[in-house]
Amino acid sequence: MGVISTRSLTKYYGKTKGVADLTMSVPTGAVYGFLGPNGAGKTTTIRCLLGMLKPTSGAAEVLGETVTLDGASLRRRIGYVAGEVHLYERETGRWHLDYVAGFRGGRGALTDELLERFEFDPTRRVKELSKGNKQKLALILGMAHDPELLILDEPTSGLDPLNQEAVYDVIKERVVAGRTVFLSSHVLSEVERVCDTVGVIRGGHLVAEEGVKALLGKRLREVEILFGDPTGPELLSGLEGVDNISAVSETTLVARAKGDALDALVKRIATARVVDVRIQQASLEDVFLEFYRGDTAPVTGNGGEER
């Protein structure tokens, strides 16, 4: 049983689909990246997990408890940072810290440390704060009580690189301390950097769920081959899973190998005289874009098998 577990979680807003038939499990002590473009259903999923939205069908369990609209005891164990930060504009950072402390029975154990690390001045009113400073305050409010589960929706939005580093460091430290982080993002470098596992959501469906390293290692490779003799792109034609074939020069071809197609590709190029081969793992962005091609079949399950 994972820290987060959903079974066919579905949410419609009238006829508009928010998330559909979402089944996933987030293991304890992991940083789970929830990847998808705007409107894919990330925030809807998070709101269902927090009991802010009532699922149309399906169910979710978080930290072993079934999520309900009135789950106050569950929320005591969760820290949440919303994607769009909305705070009380007329109040100060200190007021917000005291406000949250009032609900949680005292100041969070990490409050002072986070204030220092983010160099945040809590005496200023929210309306006087920049977007980045509002984001810092939201992060401190969500993480200060050292929750068992951190749900972060685009947590580094608006932060400068130094503070982004600080957020990544805090996330890593929390995971080392045994906490679990559910990180929603469309910043691929962020997911690539801090997440152990990534779930890709498209059009309300989970289309892939896989370890980040495995995803990067297995899914896509850019291959550049230098031949000893002039060779045309037709050498590689007809290979399943090999595309984007082009000739850079008379003796150099580039191609992209998807999934297990690398084996067939290597065997095919071995029929010619090869001088050099360069294989580069595709960035998560390329993998991601592959998933988001409108005509691409959904991918699911551990191992990224085609559905």
Partner: protein, 264 residues
């Protein structure tokens, strides 16, 4: 109820509560101060007005030339309704729908507090707000009145305050229910104000329109006759029951609706 949320809600509305209270106290003092100045001429002046005009100011059931008639037509019949209704409709609209639209409800509901507690706390603040507004409206009549030969007595002042509190809660409860149903503070406020305005027009047209007459049993504006209490007369018992029933039903319903709705 959540004391943290209770204190925070009062804190966030401190400025509006302060200015509404100051305005009501000042208005009540002006009316008591003005009464002896105009008192002797008031009866003769009022007789020159057509009954339809006096009805607009809520003076249909109270003798116009009486002290109660004076307060009813000059203050409590229309202006007071506008002031206190504005106060509680603004508060109620923001309580649920406004906070959801502003996104701050997400901050509240990510904390370990149940939705029922959130809703009950917002209702508790409305009750406090209603009592404070009623006190600011009617206590000055007793405090400043003797200086200007207006002696209501504490029993009348307290009865007025209780009656006023129930009226405010009926209006506020209705607005609260709308706020629990909708997203964005504008629509609940507009609907609540529209319904109140419709009831006021129905009261004016009462007797001349079957539709207006049909609204009579639930027309909280028609039942609002504080001038009778000022004159030492009782108001219709149905008025107490109507205000109480509307307040209780709408406030309970607002808690139930908020506890079950999507917040996003």
């Amino acid at each position: 109820m959540s004391w943290t949320l209770f204190r925070a809600t009062l804190h966030q509305h401190r400025t509006s509560i302060f200015w509404f209270v100051v305005g009501l106290v000042f208005y009540a003092w002006v009316m008591t101060w003005f009464y002896p100045t105009i008192g002797e001429e008031y009866a003769s002046m009022i007789e020159t007005f057509p009954p339809e005009l006096l009805a607009i100011f809520g003076g249909s059931e109270v003798p116009f030339s009486s002290l109660g008639g004076y307060f009813q037509t000059e203050y409590l019949g229309i202006m007071w309704i506008l002031i206190v209704s504005s106060a509680v409709i603004i508060y109620a609209s923001r309580s649920f729908a406004g906070e959801i639209a502003a996104g701050t409800m997400e901050l509240v509901l990510s904390q370990p507090v149940s939705r029922v507690k959130v809703a009950l706390t917002r209702v508790a603040v409305l009750i406090v707000y209603a009592v404070v507004l009623a006190a600011a409206s009617f206590m000055p009549l007793e405090v400043f009145g003797p200086t200007y030969d207006i002696n209501l007595g504490w029993d009348v002042a307290l009865t007025l305050m209780a009656f006023g509190t129930l009226f405010i809660l009926a209006v506020g409860g209705f607005a609260m229910l709308l706020s629990a149903m909708f997203r964005g503070g504008g629509r609940p406020g507009a609907i609540a104000a529209g319904v109140l305005g419709t009831l006021w027009i129905a009261d004016l047209l009462s007797g001349a329109s079957e539709l207006a007459d049909a609204l009579d049993p639930v027309n909280i504006v028609a039942y609002w006759q504080p001038g009778l209490l000022i004159n030492g007369d009782p108001v219709a018992p149905e008025a107490w029951w109507l205000y109480g029933a509307i307040a209780v039903i709408t406030l309970v319903a607002s808690v139930a609706v908020f506890a079950r709705r999507d917040v996003a």
